[in-house]
Symmetry: C2
Subunit: 389 residues, 2 copies
């Protein structure tokens, strides 16, 4: 196990009805709230009305920032920062999925940024020291943003989508019933995202991380078990609750305790797809992941041991032929994504090869993929994109 | 899954050499440090000298409280509180295992306690709001005190040993090399303690806690794998690191996310053994656990499903006969404790039955064992103690 330094300051309020704690949580920070949300879903499920009533009854002054995009844009961050400054906001309340929470994290930090260009702040987010307190109400099990300090912000003008760390939520209200109305497609995409968060750390050269690996395997087993149930029975509390808890634990850092930092190659590649084509993050990951797996197995067949480990501990495979098991594992994952209804090629999304070369350059600039489980060059990334067609 | 509210504010510095962060961590709180430790082991391994040199070079004013007992006494808490007040201590630095950290938690809270009787504070610890910052350097993988807010304090005069929540460590330095010198016996006892922390929450009526159960099973598998290695090769870093990480995760609350609160029956019973006979906590747990398991299987054979689940997922048992598998599970656990060198009866510790009846009354007063996985009466507890002879 490698050394690590870690803490998770976020307080989680998990379960049905935990919104009852909302005004108590917010009140500790002040009365002026920036309420951030995305499109219509929080209104459709009645959550917007419920939150507004609670805030009104609690005597909060509410400023709203709506329309935060699925791949949140730097322009939304700019709007939010301006609103916070104009209205002397005390605390941000993000109601939504990872995109809304991510955007709100960048806003929370941006309020204290002294420069004039917030995209520069995103690029250099490591130097940020301070942020407004952020509380969120989660409505999608996917990104884990409710339980980490990371956020991914997109600049469509420059075709950049950058993942950086900004601030942890002070509190996350995680009520699985808010995900009952999530579509089958988004449930599947969110599940692919959770699984990818695990794969990215699991596939690592570190061999003595028994505890972290076991926790990672548990998250995978949980998602593989409950994603199909949530799709078949959208209001199955057990399924939605386990997926929501898996989303948080996957990004908690715990499944990577003591492990090599890999640069998260599929995320690096997917961020380029989203930056160029604005696709759903989890869908891009579901397409990329099996291709990346096959590519690294070809490039370094010795890495099959990790796949075999996943096969034994997650899929119940047996035997000694690690190369054969690795193939079975990749096929099983590919098949899982197909079974839950996700696209299996970029062609299905009408994406061609015209930008692959520049996307590969960007992906390799943004993450140190020369330090990945199987190190990847820009040419490797281009090849993987082509395999996804 | 049941509702829960949870956060873990402790910052963990895990791995070899993390003591390099010590003065930076302490310095954030002030210069006046109460250094707490137990007997000779921190001096024997050179850690005391290393810490004192760092504190001296860093310009800290150090007050010492040494001799903290394996089952820390209220008298040590009283001494520590007095020293903190007399020396206007800014931060407590606990160097040792769970007992030293536990005692230091009670001291940290006791400094702000306005009453005159610190045992009353322990009894009513739930009402405590404030504590001095506490930093620890862990030297034993066992209690998980480095990653939770709990502490167990003993009053030998009244034969009471009470587990209460006081405060989380602000930071825990978890360097597995500090456990290289832990004896085989204490390594085994610490491992039994970690396993018991898992058993206490795992054996629960909650049936839809797939994620938490999987994490619990992972901790068990980790301890079962690495405890014998650490005993055979005391300086095996992989084994010591996985045990230390398992110790923290076992008590993190995460393995119990969404699960019924069970009252932790074996801990309730063991605290009485320690309060009356001052035995090693993990040894008491290793004796009690298989007897408690057999008792609840007799009392409510329908609870065998949970044992079978453990058998399948941790021990790799197969088959459909859940009652038979439950028996196999208990024997396997009993055998594991025996194999790693732990006593298997109270007689071996020269403990007779003379106090069983009153111990059972106390145990049932201190925890709500009528809400346990299989509810237990005072007579049941007495019977379990007798089974341990």
């Amino acid at each position: 196990m490698l050394n690590y330094i870690h803490s998770i300051p976020t307080q989680v309020f998990f379960g049905k009805g935990q919104i009852s704690h909302l005004t108590g949580i917010l009140g500790a920070y002040g009365k002026r709230v920036l309420l951030t949300y995305g499109g219509g879903s929080v209104k459709r499920i009645g959550l917007y009305d419920e939150v507004m009533k609670l805030l009104h009854d609690g005597g909060f002054e509410v400023t709203e920032l709506s329309g935060i995009e699925p791949n949140p844009r730097i322009q939304s961050v700019e709007k939010g920062v301006l609103l916070c400054r104009q209205n002397r906001i005390d605390v941000i309340l993000a109601v939504g999925g990872g995109s809304t929470i991510d955007c709100s994290k960048a806003i929370a930090a941006g309020v204290y940024y002294e420069g004039s260009d917030l995209w520069e702040m995103v690029r250099n987010a490591r130097s940020l020291q301070k942020a407004l307190p952020l509380v969120d109400i989660l409505t999608l099990s996917a990104t884990g943003s409710e339980y980490d300090s990371g956020a991914v912000i997109t600049n469509l003008d420059t075709h950049e989508k950058l993942g950086r760390t900004f601030t942890y939520p002070a509190a996350s209200i995680c009520d699985p019933t808010y995900t009952f109305s999530v579509s089958a497609y988004q449930t599947a995409a969110g599940s692919a995202d959770i699984m990818s968060h695990i794969f990215e750390g699991y596939f690592s050269e570190t061999q003595d991380s028994c505890l972290s690996d076991g926790i990672a395997e548990t998250v995978l087993k949980t998602v593989i078990r409950y994603c199909p149930i949530a799709i078949a029975k959208p209001d199955n509390y057990e399924a939605r609750a386990n997926l929501m808890s898996a989303s948080s634990i996957a990004c908690s850092g715990i499944p990577e305790y003591g492990k090599q930092r890999t640069g998260w190659p599929c995320h690096a590649m997917e961020h380029e797809l989203s930056a160029y084509y604005d696709i759903t993050h989890g869908v891009g990951l579901a397409i990329l992941t099996p291709r990346w797996m096959r590519f690294i197995l070809r490039k370094n067949p010795a890495c099959a041991w990790r796949f075999a480990m996943l096969g034994r501990n997650v899929l119940g495979l047996t035997g000694e032929d690690e190369a054969g098991m690795a193939e079975q594992v990749v096929s099983a994952i590919e098949n899982f994504f197909h079974t839950v209804g996700l696209p299996s090629s970029l062609r299905e999304l009408k994406i061609g090869s015209e930008h692959f070369a520049e996307m590969a350059v960007h992906a390799n600039q943004n993450e140190r993929l020369s330090h990945a489980f199987v190190p990847l060059t820009t040419d490797d990334l281009t090849a993987i994109y082509h395999d996804c067609l």
